[in-house]
Amino acid sequence: SLTDKLSSLFKNLTGQGKLSEANVREAAAQVRLALLEADVNLQVAEDFVARVQERALGAEVLSSITPGHQFVKIVHEQLRETLGGKREALRFASQPPTVVMVCGLQGSGKTTTCAKLGALLKRSGKRVILAAADIYRPAAAEQLEILSQQAGCIFYKSDSTDVAAICAGAAEAGVRKLADAVILDTAGRLHVDAEMMEELVRTKAAARPHEILLVLDSMTGQDAALVAAEFNSKLGLTGAILTKLDSDARGGAALSLRAVSGAAIKYVGTGEKLADLEEFHPERMASRILG
């Protein structure tokens, strides 16, 4: 593990009293490798390590009697801070319903996550509408309708071929039906598909969501940074949900996402069942990424 590598690196140095800049650079290089192996985007990893190096070269590590311990502490702290110092929950609108637009790449887990989120809110006594805004994918509405029933939510769909109008309609239905939340399940799309990204921009304008959440697969590699940056620049993400954390992926995509978009990860998906949605814990994610 990284901690082992760093402690053995520093163990050979303790006889020399204090650390040299070269020692810190070597340790920083180890951290960079660990982050890359954890799927953190290259640019994000290098920026991260540069900042760690800066801090470590400051008074803290060079004059510490336990430099290895101090260095690892800096890495952990900085990773936790970057991932989100404090927990950010779903932000409810001052006037219900809270409209939540859920978006992301194909297959990331949006539809399942919408239902999980609906089930979570339902468990806390809320009235939730799940809206089928994916009009492209075969049986997308059928999938959401089944999950909506299992989640105890109200299912909304429309025969319109105008996604923005469907979502505006869902938001209005939320008002009429006195819903606490309306969750818009949009179609998977590529961040480089101009037309589909434009559809999301129009949908945002029409439905005026209070939350715009990017659903990102935690097994995603280097591409996570570009995806997060693009979705953020077009829509202004208010948060994200990282899925499939029950995989063995180290989840460096979480750091990439947060570093490039500032979007806080509000929840994580940890399985295929509707109950498998948990709060995001930055310190647990930090340990996971560092391996």
């Binding site: 194909q106 297959g107 697969d217 180290r250």
Partner: protein, 275 residues
């Protein structure tokens, strides 16, 4: 870089960055850079790199013939992979492609877990003009596969595509279920399935290697269908998979329509990765 026999440190750094950004991985990148430094001197650096990548990607052995034993029918192809990778869509695309060649195609909806999985595959079967065998949600996927093989045998089907539920490679009970599906197909038709296709998202990071390792321990994996190459991800993880396990990429998914499937072209892939 092209035309240069040896690279400066700065150039090697930039090359390292390019490979790492393509999900080639730390170890894979190190190996490729070494090959560039030590490669045949009559080639320039870029040619050495491309040659090494193509050598890694070249299939190590022939595919198992997609026909049944003794050329029997149907050829049974098992479609597997992690959640959301594009299995059902890829099964649909393959179905359309095979039907387009005049083959009689059948699809089996052996994903009995996911909401509306059968309905989703039914749309694809319809698009391909293929027959569909499905069952009720919650049914035993191995039983569905068994029945589909029996139906395909009875109806003179040329190719049977068996779509399975998404499953994480690190979930033992789901890998066991996949083994059971595989074994049950073999009970009905010795030698089947004839082809195991691992469907993998091109944006997958290092987890892709673990996926290939564990899936190929559960069932024989003959090739990869690398999906969503129409995105910006380069799919570099397939190099490590080819290197370690000898599993080649068979198909490339380049979109969401029935026609968005190509036979994998290693040269095109390497060109795309190197930008």
């Amino acid at each position: 870089l092209s035309g240069k026999r040896s690279l400066s440190a700065g150039e090697l750094d930039r090359l390292e960055g390019l490979l790492l950004s393509a999900d080639v991985g730390v170890e894979g990148t190190r190996r490729l850079l070494q090959a560039v430094r030590q490669g045949p001197s009559e080639l320039d650096a870029l040619e050495r790199l491309k040659a090494e990548m193509l050598a890694i990607l070249a299939p190590k052995s022939d595919y198992r013939p997609p026909g049944g034993e003794n050329g029997g029918k149907p050829a049974v192809w098992l479609i597997l992979g992690v959640n959301g990778s594009g299995k059902t869509t890829s099964a649909g695309k393959l179905g359309s492609r095979l039907a387009g060649r005049g083959l009689k195609v059948m699809m089996a909806a052996a994903d009995t877990y996911r909401a509306a999985a059968g309905e989703q595959l039914a749309v694809w079967a319809d698009r391909a003009g293929a027959e569909l065998v499905a069952s009720k949600p919650g049914a035993d996927p191995a039983a569905v596969a068994y029945d589909a093989v029996a139906a395909a045998q009875a109806r003179g089907t040329d190719v049977l595509l068996v779509d399975t539920a998404g499953r994480l490679h690190n979930k033992k009970h789901l890998q066991d279920e996949l083994r059971k599906i595989h074994a049950t197909i073999g009970k009905r038709m010795p030698g089947a399935p004839h082809l195991g296709l691992l469907v993998m998202d091109a944006a997958t990071g290092q987890s892709g290697l673990a996926q290939a390792r564990l899936f190929s321990q559960a069932v024989p994996v003959d090739g990869i269908v690398l999906t969503k190459l129409d995105g910006t991800a380069k799919g570099g993880i397939v190099l490590a998979i080819a290197q370690e396990l000898g599993i080649p990429v068979a198909w490339a998914g380049t979109g969401e329509g029935a026609g968005d499937l190509q036979e994998f072209d290693a040269e095109e892939f390497v060109e795309g990765l190197l930008g």
